[in-house]
Structures are given as structure tokens and as C-alpha cells.
């Protein structure tokens, strides 16, 4: 099967800044693909390379097998949900959604009918006459989604689509986006800096760091078997253990990662240290211990006994939870 999007050694340099540096990437058709990374890691530039708002300094981008290096944005069959939605303030919701059809020359009645259909799909039937300014953040987001989907793109790009929404709304939209993607069978590519969002929504994700891809895989791959210290640290704030500590805890002498939820506290053990901080998280408490030079966190489920700050504790864990990463940063 032809991949939906393919990057071959793609770089995008802005003067001396290597925003994207030699990225190889394959996104399968029908995937819900996340690009995860801190700000400035190159994920948004990659999205803009797909939509055509940036051109690669070198390398090749293919969309469904076609080289799009020389294709301007308006001729690419991909659509974007912009970070701040970029709805046209002078047009009402219906005309915003119908914009793509209007510029293609579709008649008013027909494009308005299709726009209403799309609005129904995103549960905004009856909002067609309102102006974007009269909508809430969540509603604007749905309009932006409908405006992109009405063009029947082959790939839908979402740039931090949920960033501007509050937590409750964000969670609801996550479920809805996921359901929508499953229903339409489209390829979704979304950019986020929120690891929880990426892990819970995507079926595949790429973790970006300093213009390069640190790791590509399924959420389980990335979470359980981080390839580098950066990935372990960025995705779910894992404990990163230096080689000496790994060895002291019974592993090989190499960098390793250990999830806080896999760590249990014990009275005695090979390595112990003082409790430096307790952070109550509702469903559990995050206990930080100082083991030599390294701070190690343990997530203690609610209802279990907690140590006091300053008390000395040792840690235990299921050896299978220890993931050795090798030398890579």
C-alpha cells in the first residue's frame, strides 16, 4: 500500500537554524499519526512541509506516492485545522465551512447544503448563521474541523488542535476526534506537545527533538521502550537511571528508564535514600527520592501508606519494568 505521507531525508533550514534535519518518515494510509515534541523541536515545521507552507531545503516529500516538492498549498489535497483555527471573521459559520467549495466554483445552494451536512457531522447544526466571534473555543474548533473536512482531503493535518481548550473540553474533543477519524477512515496527522494527548489518541507517533526524530512507534513502544533518554524523559516523565545506578539496582551497566508507576517503596533494599518531596495527584501520590545523584520518582496509588518527607526509603520494582536504553542520548 502506498503510504499517505513519506519524508525522505527532508531538511528545512532557516539560515543557521536546522528546524528539520534529515527526517525520514512514513505515515500509513488511515493512520492517526501524532508528531510529539517540545516547542522548537521541528514538529510544526514538518506539518507545514506537508501542507506546503514550508518548502524543504533538501530531501523529498511524497503524498500518496506523488512528489509534492513543486506543488503549492492550494493544489495539495490535504487540509489543515490551524492552531488558532484561523476562521474568517467576516464570514458566518456556514460560509466559513463552504469556503473551500466556494473557491472551487461550486454553486451557492449546493455548497451550503454540504456545509450544513458537515456542521451536522461536528454537531453544530443550526449554528450556520453565527459569526465565529459568537462561538466558544470548542465550537470554533469544530467549525475549523468541518471547514477542513468538507473538502474531502486525503490527509487531515491538525496543528495543536486542542491546545486552546480547557481540560474537560479537551478530553471530550479527543474522544470525538478519534471517533471521527475511525468513521471517516482518513489519515490524520496531528502535532502536539502534550504527551498524554499523543499517547491516548494516536496509533503511531514520532517523538521530535531538535529537528530530528528521536523515536517512531506505537504508543506502547514509545512508553514502555523509549529509545533514548530524551524520549524516556519527555514522554510521561520517566525515571532516567544512569549506568551506575542501573547496575546497583540489579541491571546491566547502562542508561535505563523506569516508569514511576512501576516503582514501589520498601523498608530495605540495595539502594535507599531520603524522601525529598511528596506531590498529591488525586489518584495517587508522587514520591521523590534522592538516590545518590539521581532523583527517582515513585507513583504510590491512593490508599497505600506514604512515607514522610525526610524519611529514608528503598525502592523495589519488577525487573521486567526496567528498560535499558543503551548509549543514545
Amino acid at each position: 500500500m502506498t503510504p499517505a505521507v513519506e519524508f525522505r531525508a527532508v531538511s528545512r533550514h532557516f539560515g543557521p537554524v536546522k528546524a528539520v534535519d534529515g527526517v525520514d518518515l512514513t505515515i500509513a494510509e488511515g493512520a492517526f499519526f501524532a508528531m510529539l515534541g517540545p516547542s522548537g523541536s521541528g514538529k510544526t515545521t514538518c506539518l507545514r512541509l506537508i501542507s506546503g507552507f514550508e518548502q524543504p531545503s533538501s530531501g523529498q516529500i511524497r503524498i500518496f506516492g506523488e512528489d509534492v516538492s513543486a506543488v503549492p498549498p492550494h493544489l495539495r489535497n490535504v487540509n489543515t485545522v490551524f492552531q488558532d483555527y484561523a476562521l474568517f471573521p467576516h464570514l458566518n459559520v456556514r460560509d466559513n465551512v463552504a469556503y473551500g467549495l466556494m473557491v472551487k466554483g461550486m454553486g451557492r445552494a449546493q455548497r451550503h447544503a454540504q456545509a450544513e451536512e458537515m456542521l451536522a457531522l461536528v454537531k453544530l447544526d443550526g449554528y450556520g448563521d453565527r459569526k465565529p466571534a459568537q462561538l466558544s473555543g470548542g465550537q470554533r474548533q469544530r467549525v475549523a474541523l468541518a471547514r477542513a473536512l468538507v473538502n474531502k482531503p486525503r490527509v487531515l493535518l491538525l496543528d495543536e488542535p486542542l491546545g486552546a481548550l480547557d481540560l474537560k473540553l479537551r478530553e471530550a474533543m479527543q474522544d470525538e476526534l478519534k471517533a471521527l477519524q475511525a468513521r471517516l477512515g482518513l489519515t490524520f496527522v496531528f502535532v502536539t506537545h502534550d504527551q498524554h494527548e499523543a499517547l491516548s489518541m494516536a496509533d503511531h507517533l514520532a517523538v521530535f527533538n531538535e529537528g530530528r526524530i528521536a523515536q517512531i512507534g506505537t504508543p506502547q513502544d514509545i512508553y514502555d521502550r523509549p529509545a533514548t533518554r530524551f524520549v524516556a524523559d519527555f514522554v510521561g516523565s520517566s525515571n532516567v537511571l544512569p549506568p551506575a545506578l542501573t547496575r546497583a539496582l540489579g541491571g546491566p551497566e547502562a542508561w535505563a528508564s523506569l516508569r514511576p508507576e512501576a516503582v514501589r517503596l520498601a523498608a530495605t533494599g540495595p539502594v535507599s535514600g531520603p524522601v525529598t518531596a511528596l506531590r498529591y495527584l488525586g489518584a495517587g501520590t508522587r514520591v521523590a527520592l534522592r538516590l545518590g545523584e539521581t532523583e527517582v520518582a515513585a507513583l504510590i496509588p491512593a490508599g497505600q501508606p506514604l512515607p514522610a518527607e525526610g524519611e529514608t526509603a528503598a525502592i523495589t520494582f519488577d525487573p521486567a519494568a526496567l528498560h535499558v536504553m543503551g548509549g543514545a542520548k
Binding site: S51, N79, H90, V103
Partner: protein, 311 residues
Amino acid sequence: MSGAVLSPRGPADRLTGLFWRKPWLLLLLLIAPPLLWLGVVYLGSLAALLLQSFYAIDEFSGVVVPEFTLKTYAELFRAQNLDIILRTVWMAAAVTLACAVLAFPIAYYAARYAKGHWKAAFYLGVMLPLWSSYLVKVYAWKLILAKEGILGWAAERTHTSFVIDGLLSVPGLQGSSLSTSPIGTFLVFVYVWLPYMILPMQAALERVPTAMLEASADLGATSAQTFRSVILPLALPGVIAGSIFTFSLTLGDYIIPQIVGNSANFIGMAVYQLQGTAGNIPLAAAFAVVPILIMLVYLWLAKRAGAFDAL
């Protein structure tokens, strides 16, 4: 250790406290002078003008008769006066259109692409002509456009004099040279008022987010479609603001058509002559009301066309 309340250091602290307790007091102090200026001096004189236009002059004695009459307004519709009004409105419309067409690319460049030093250079370039006297500029243009001027000289050297001659033979635009033709008046008007179009346009274009243009392209629009459906509607308030300047300034100007052009009368010149040598204040006032009415109609049309919806 100090208490929860600090003692006032002086009158400034006490005054700030007073303004905090009574916020309307500061507002009143700030807006009273401009309100007085606008209300009394500006609107008051406008009212006096309006009043004068409803009086008429006694044709034998030449004395203003302070009695309400529409006779003066009726006089505006005499062929020679209607001619003046139409000529002025045509000129103002042509100047405004030309300014808009010239200003847009400049404003667009400044708003979208110019950064740092280039932006400073832009502002300087646009404002610099405003620093020198308006009269000096108009006379300079008279020389540039004269038969022996640099334009005529350049045309002669490049054997393109036929272009100027051709323009000068168009009915309605005749003149012995550009500086004595309505074309000259038009060119000078466009030059002098151009900054008043560029600046509001640039301010409006700067408020159009780049994401909006990208969204348009993303949805399949060509550059022309993006211009028509997104940029223009969003920049329209700025274009209207600029056109109000160029239109009303042209409607009221009495110096440029006097110095450059074929000496045909414009509203401004008519007002100048009527209140001066002719001593017909009521008719001068009636003439002065014409641009006000035209601008009101223009604004009303612009509002109906949705020019201010994006505000």
C-alpha cells in the same frame, strides 16, 4: 516591619488615591478639554456654517438677509455651479481610486514583509513628503509637468512625446502642457494625498493574521481568490478610512487646482472666491455643505456594503 498600609508620600499619592476612589474624575479631566474643543469650537462653527447656508444674499445691495430660505441651495443647481460640484466629485473619485491602487502594494509590502530597518525606511519614505511645505511640493510639480519640465524633456529625448500629446488631446483633458491640463491636477492630488491612503491601509493589513491567508490557500484558493475573499474584506475598513481622507481632502482643496491645471473651478476654489471677493457667504456655506453631504452618503453606502463588519 511596616504595617499593611503605607502612608502617602505626598500629593501625588493622595491624588492617585482620589482617582482610584472616583475613576470618573480622571476620565472627566482627560476628556473635558477635547470635548469642549469638539463640541464648542468645531461643531459650533459647523452649525454656524449650516445656518449661514439657509440665508440668502440680497442681489441689489449684496447684504446677507438673515431669514430662512432655500434659495441659496437652489442656486447650487444652476448649470455653472452643478458643473463645479460634478467636476470636483469626479476628480475626488479618480484621485481616491488611483491612490488606492497605488497604495495597496506599498501598504501590503510594509504590513507583510518589511521588518526592522526596512519598516523604518518605509515609514520615513511615506512620511518624508509630509514634512515639506505643501505649497513647495505643488510648485515643484508645476515645474516637473511644465512644457519645459523634466517630464517633457525626458519624453522628447526618448521620442515618447506622442504619449503626452495624445493624453493632452483627449476631450476634457486638454491643455497646452501637463501642468495646465486636468491630468496635472490629478497627478498632483494623487501625489499629495497618497500617504493618507497608505497609512490606514497598512494598519488594516497588519491586522490580517498570516494564518488567515494560509487557511485560504489551504482550502484551495488562488492568490486572486484569497485577495478578493479574505484580504480585501478584512482590509476594507482601512481602505475606507484612507479613501475618506483622499476623497474629502480633494473635495475641499482650493490650492492645487489653482496652481496646476486649466483653472476650471472646484468646490474649494468656489468657496474661497465666494466668501472673499464675491462676498456671498450664504452660497459659500452652501457649497461647503456639499462635501459634508457627499461624505455622509459615502459612509452610509460603505456601511451598507459591509465595509465595517470586520471591525
